[in-house]
């Protein structure tokens, strides 16, 4: 296959997985629309409602598979072949893929079926944002990105982002359910507050070491190789550090101050806000970031670099 046909395959796979995610969302909506009428404690192990739920999960599995093909196509379309996270569009594709994958991996273990509609809806919206506003044709990367660390640094950052996002969804649901007095419907059918809190904690407990590895170990090692200094107070680094500190505060609060539930959920959502702001916002607010995409290439005497370094994180 030629590079152009790989690229076309990737674009088609993105469209196809978008459609399948949408069908999965519909299936979950049918499921929850049916569940709305039933009392919150009534289990529905079989019948049309349960069927719709299982169909939703099955469609999500298919969509994540096609999503993987889209990523593979992006990587194969580049010359030389590379990992498919070299620009904002590819990073969005990879990030949403890992959100979906982690959801499926944790689905049985933590009993996350109830998260289905939100996860699928989130992936679908992010993919749409990516396709509409962030799309770029496959292009060679700038020199500094051709490094072994592109694989390990970015993939760990993406996995942590996926885990934090799932944890953040739990925290939002916690806050909503806490205020809700409904006896039926979606919120009433969610796991008990204490379980939501615990699942959220465990997502964050998984994401935090991975984030530490991405931001404070592989990031500095690569920065040292490429830019001669392992910590540059670059805006992206600063915000990654801020995210780290906020999540450290979250874990610290849970472990020692006994902040469970509401306060912890709020801190977790602040962390999630800094994380996504760092991913998308900082590229538009800062012109000096060495990780920047949106900024025009600056080539000033003090910062003359062979590569206008574009690193997604």
């Amino acid at each position: 296959m030629t590079n152009a046909s790989w690229e076309a395959l990737s674009n088609q796979a993105v469209a196809a997985s978008g459609v399948v995610y949408f069908l999965a969302l519909l299936a979950h909506l049918v499921q929850w629309a049916g569940l709305r009428k039933l009392p919150a404690d009534e289990e529905v192990p079989s019948g049309r409602i349960a069927m719709a739920g299982r169909l939703g999960v099955l469609l999500t599995v298919i969509a994540v598979g096609v999503h993987a093909v889209a990523l593979l196509g992006r990587g194969m379309a580049a010359d030389p072949n590379r990992v498919p996270w070299g620009n904002m569009y590819e990073f969005t594709l990879a990030g949403t893929f890992f959100v979906g994958l982690l959801y499926l991996v944790f689905l049985r273990r933590f009993g996350l079926e109830w998260m289905g509609p939100l996860v699928v809806g989130f992936i679908l919206s992010m993919m749409m944002i990516g396709v509409i506003w962030l799309y770029e044709p496959v292009a060679p990367l700038t020199e500094a990105l051709y490094s072994f660390w592109l694989v390990i640094h970015v993939v760990s950052a993406v996995i942590a982002t996926g885990a934090f996002t799932l944890g953040g969804i739990c925290s939002v649901l916690y806050l909503l359910k806490e205020r809700s007095t409904a006896e039926r419907g979606y919120l009433a059918r969610l796991p008990a507050l204490i379980s939501l809190d615990r699942i959220s904690y465990r997502m964050h407990a998984f994401g935090f070491p991975v984030w530490t590895f991405a931001v404070l170990i592989t990031g500095p090692i690569w920065a040292h190789q490429a830019w001669s200094s392992y910590w540059n107070w670059d805006p992206k680094e600063v915000w990654a550090f801020i995210t780290w500190v906020v999540y450290a505060a979250y874990l610290h609060a849970r472990a020692t101050a006994g902040w469970k539930g509401r306060n912890a959920a709020i801190v977790a959502l602040v962390g999630l806000a800094t994380l996504w702001f760092n991913f998308i916002g900082i590229n538009y607010f800062s012109t000096s970031s060495q990780h920047s995409y949106a900024a025009p290439v600056s080539f000033s005497p003090s910062r003359s670099e062979p590569a206008s370094t574009e690193v997604p994180l």
Binding site: P137, A139, P140, T142, E143, A144, Y146, R198, Y201, R202, A205, F208, P209, T212, F213, I217, P220, I221, W222, H224, Q225, A226, W227, S228, S229, Y230, W231, N232, W233, P235, V238, F241, I242, V245, V246, A248, A249, L251, H252, A253, R254, A255, T256, A257, T274, I282, F285, S286, T287, S288, V297, F299, P301, S302, R303, S304, E305, P306, A307, S308
Partner: protein
């Protein structure tokens, strides 16, 4: 409040702690210490640290982006002095930012020292005795059997040991505990934060970072006078520079001519001949992006490149007043470059040239510009100045700026500025008998960053240790399990009670219950290999 009451508080009972206004100096000191080292303070300081880091990502920082910072200051003449006083142009060494992290470190030390002592005692302590009523514990199970109570306890002890519990057998109960390493992980994590800071500080104090532009074919020896810019750490001594030298033998670059990134340069390779010391043999290294050259503890990075037009200026008397490559600084990705050439010794008048170099000259919208970074259609376009170029009064000035205060631009007869538009090999005669300029050729230069970062391995070790400690503190599950037997007088049935307490936070209740059920099953139906 009586004297007895004050003595009784002993620093432990928060309820009885007097307010700061009632305290003498020593008590106040202890009160402050307790506040600083409290968990709540640590939490607030962590969030403050996050908040305090934000301005540094919005306002350009002088030591990260000095050009950006000075441009910002020019654009905001009213705000700039206020921001400057607040330290917003160097947030990360400002007093208030330092105050936050120093307080955080004090809080951290104040937290880990007592916790280490507690942990040390806990490590050597025996698992606590079984509570009287195990059914009150969050995890509980019970069964009755005809086995003798002592047999059950022996089996329980064996099973718990097999599950890596620390076990103590009492008269009618077994106490077991595991997961001691969780707190060790926690302490390691906190200690490592200090290690990282020490590493960071060593780099800041004893390291240095310097930059130099070297033209292809020319050399560099590691001496303070050779650097274009040099930022030493506050305790760095100039004589610590390692005595290496290098020469750039060759520099190659690939220009992409098609595809979405056409015009981008790639695959920079700078071939260096270097000597570690003047006495050592000459070695060769291909310096690339992401592949620095390490000499001793110093590292050499390739971080930029550009063009250096080669010119010869002969003055009115025919003497060579200037000859050699001149570094032009690129102003955009097409490598349109700006530069200045000065020949103060030219007679009858000093000669100054200022202008642009276009690697691939093109006219776009009537404006001269470069359309590509490679040398496809190179053109040099300079304007001419004469008079006093300000080079003889001894004051230093940038080689990239022409001092026009006492110089005047040379005009043509019809009053337009005189321009030299030259291609390689051209010679232009200057008006007013000033002399001639010859464009001999084009060389390339590399911007080389040279830095020494002592303590980087200390910092790296610190972060790796922190990660290991973190994993321990998040995923090791400290648990206590108790088994108690009871046989009523005259009965031959033994009641066995099991209880467990998961002391991790966010622990998984189902897993705990499964473990308890498995322990119970093994007591009920002993494994073949157990006694």
């Amino acid at each position: 409040m009586s004297g007895l009451d004050v003595k009784d508080t002993g620093g432990r009972d928060r309820q009885a702690t007097p307010m700061p206004t009632d305290m003498n100096a020593r008590e106040l000191g202890r009160w402050i210490w307790r506040q600083v080292t409290s968990m709540r303070t640590a939490l607030v300081l962590l969030l403050l640290l996050a908040l305090g880091a934000i301005p540094g990502s919005i306002v350009p920082q002088a030591d990260v982006d000095s050009l950006g910072a000075s441009r910002w200051q020019e654009a905001h003449p009213k705000l700039a002095p206020i921001y400057d006083r607040l330290g917003l142009f160097s947030v990360y060494d400002s007093p208030w930012f330092s105050a936050i992290y120093i307080l955080l470190m004090i809080s951290l030390v104040g937290c880990i020292v007592p916790r280490t002592a507690v942990y040390w005692r806990a490590l050597r302590a025996r698992p606590p005795r079984a509570p009287m009523n195990l059914s009150r514990l969050p995890e509980h199970a019970a069964y009755t059997t005809t086995d003798a109570p002592d047999d059950v306890l022996v089996r329980a002890a064996a099973e718990l040991k097999r599950r890596r519990y620390r076990v103590v057998v009492g008269d009618d109960s077994v106490s077991a505990e595991k997961g001691y390493l969780r707190e060790a992980g926690n302490l390691i994590f906190h200690l490592s934060v200090l290690v990282v800071l020490v590493g960071f500080a060593i780099g800041g104090l004893f390291g240095y970072k310097g930059g130099v532009i070297v033209v292809e074919g020319q050399g560099f020896s590691n001496d303070l006078t050779q650097y274009d810019d040099f930022v030493p750490g506050s305790l760095f001594k100039g004589e610590d520079l390692e005595p290496f030298t290098f020469t750039i033998k060759d520099f190659e670059v690939d220009w992409l001519t098609e595809g979405p990134r056409a015009g981008m340069a790639r695959k920079f390779v700078s071939t260096l001949d270097y000597q570690q010391t003047p006495a050592s043999p000459v070695e060769t290294y291909d310096l690339k992006v992401n592949h620095p050259l390490t000499i001793g503890s110093t590292e050499i990075f390739l971080i930029g490149h550009g063009y250096a037009p080669l010119l010869t200026i002969r003055d009115g008397n025919g003497d060579v007043a200037y000859s050699g490559p001149t570094i032009f600084l690129p102003t955009d990705q097409t490598f349109q470059s700006f530069g200045v050439i000065r020949a103060p010794d030219a007679r009858p008048g000093e000669i100054g040239l200022e202008g642009e170099f276009f690697p691939t000259f093109a006219l776009g919208d009537g404006m001269p510009r470069s359309s590509f970074g490679d040398l496809i259609n190179p053109l040099l376009s300079m304007s001419l100045y004469t008079g006093d170029l300000g080079l003889n009064d001894g004051s230093g000035q940038s080689v990239y700026v022409l001092d026009k205060a006492n110089a005047e631009q040379v005009m043509t007869a019809d009053g337009k500025p005189f321009r030299l538009d030259m291609r390689e090999g051209d010679t232009v005669e200057l008006p007013d008998g000033l002399g001639t300029v010859t464009f001999d050729g084009i060389e390339r230069w590399n911007k080389i960053q040279i830095s020494r970062t002592p303590g980087k391995l200390v910092a790296l070790t610190g972060v790796v240790l922190a990660l290991i400690g973190l994993l321990g503190s998040l995923f090791i599950r400290p648990r206590r399990v108790w088994v108690r037997t009871r046989r009523d007088q005259g009965s031959d049935a033994t009641t066995v009670d099991l209880g467990a307490l998961d002391r991790s936070n966010g622990g998984d209740p189902e897993r705990g219950e499964l473990e308890l059920a498995a322990i119970m099953a093994s007591l009920h139906h002993p494994r073949k290999d157990s006694p």
